[in-house]
């Protein structure tokens, strides 16, 4: 049977009550990191991201969200330890969205990215990516198409590097444009999957090893019209988020 990745993509904004419930499950270090961020939107996004991670993983492993602990590897890769140890988790946020991914038995990396409005991505790819990938970005018609190609490649690199627990910067030139199995230095092989989302956001998942796997996005309807989940969905659901299709928004709990 194929391995399965559970993926939740949710809005980074939440009401005061939902935010308070997230703050309540964060550990002191996470609260301090949230408090240090320089703007309310950054603080809220961090709180929603880490709160949702704890709520979703806690539910998956049957441990109180506030009791979960992660230790950080040499390059910052978090590994679940203590009472909930076992599953592999990954967290990413960009713009107004957060992505949480959980895999039972294989190291995982997830990356979500909104195309940045700044520089033309062709220049970034030409400077930092594999030359074939740089051509791929440059050859894509208009700026929006170049952004889309760049962002897809970027999320695939980030996801692979996160799954491997490696550093991003030496792996910017890691080719990820051909085939879904990539080798990250001495860390081994990783299988990449692009996940469709609504709008311009791109999501990629990487899992250790070459074996195929399925990605099960929670609560999402068929893209590209699917709305992201909200923190309310996370707080009010058993984790499947199937309530979204049966109960009107705002009347679930």
């Amino acid at each position: 049977m194929r391995d399965t990745v559970r993926l939740w993509v949710l809005s980074a904004t939440a009401g005061r009550r939902e935010l308070a419930r997230c703050v309540a499950v964060l550990d002191p270090a996470e609260r301090a990191r949230a408090a240090a961020l320089g703007s309310p939107s950054l603080r809220d996004r961090f709180t929603v991201a880490h709160g949702a991670l704890r709520l979703l993983v806690g539910r998956a492993v049957g441990v109180a969200p506030g009791d979960l602990t992660w230790t950080r590897g040499r390059h910052g890769k978090p590994t679940l330890t203590g009472p909930g140890a076992g599953p592999h988790t990954s967290l990413s946020y960009s713009g107004g969205l957060v992505a949480v991914a959980v895999s039972a038995g294989r190291a995982i990396g997830v990356d979500i990215q909104h195309p940045a409005p700044g520089r033309d991505p062709a220049a970034l790819a030409a400077r930092f990516f594999d030359p074939r990938e740089a051509r791929l970005v440059a050859d894509a018609g208009d700026r929006a198409a170049r952004q889309a190609r760049f962002t897809r490649l970027w999320t695939r690199k980030e996801a692979a590097v996160k799954a491997a627990g490696a550093r991003l910067w030496p792996h910017l030139a890691l080719p990820v444009h051909r085939g879904d199995v990539v080798t990250v230095g001495s860390a081994g092989s990783y299988r990449l999957t692009d996940v469709a989302t609504g709008g311009a956001f791109r999501v990629a998942v990487a899992l250790a090893g070459e074996a195929p796997y399925a990605v099960e996005p929670a609560g999402a309807g068929p893209p590209p019209t699917a709305e992201p989940l909200t923190l309310t969905d996370v707080l009010c659901s058993d984790g499947s988020m199937l309530e979204r299709s049966t109960a009107p928004r705002g009347h679930r709990c």
Partner: protein
């Protein structure tokens, strides 16, 4: 560990600090003034993709090439840390 030889650096550290300060202020529009002690990820919320843009902008402005092979999140905790790295790991274009 040897101190970076700033006398032969592709760009003087003060110049790197000045340009990083201006670029980060423009890109992220922080509410507090950006200084050498500003924490890039933990205060400004700098993402890796924005860091990529930041480095390319800096390379173009200072006409240098930054070797990113040894770059790590630990070496860009504060603006001052990143300026140290760039000063020690850049060559003129």
């Amino acid at each position: 560990m040897l101190e970076p030889d700033t006398t032969t650096a592709a760009a003087p550290r003060e110049q790197v600090v000045g340009r990083l300060t201006a670029l980060l202020t423009r890109m992220l529009k922080p509410t507090e003034p950006v200084t050498e002690r500003t924490q890039l990820m933990d205060e400004l919320g700098l993402s890796s993709s924005l860091a990529l843009e930041l480095l390319l902008e800096l390379e173009d402005e200072l006409e240098i090439q930054i070797d990113v092979e040894d770059l790590d999140e630990d070496r860009m905790t504060t603006l001052g840390d990143l300026a140290d790295y760039i000063t020690a790991n850049s060559t003129p274009r």
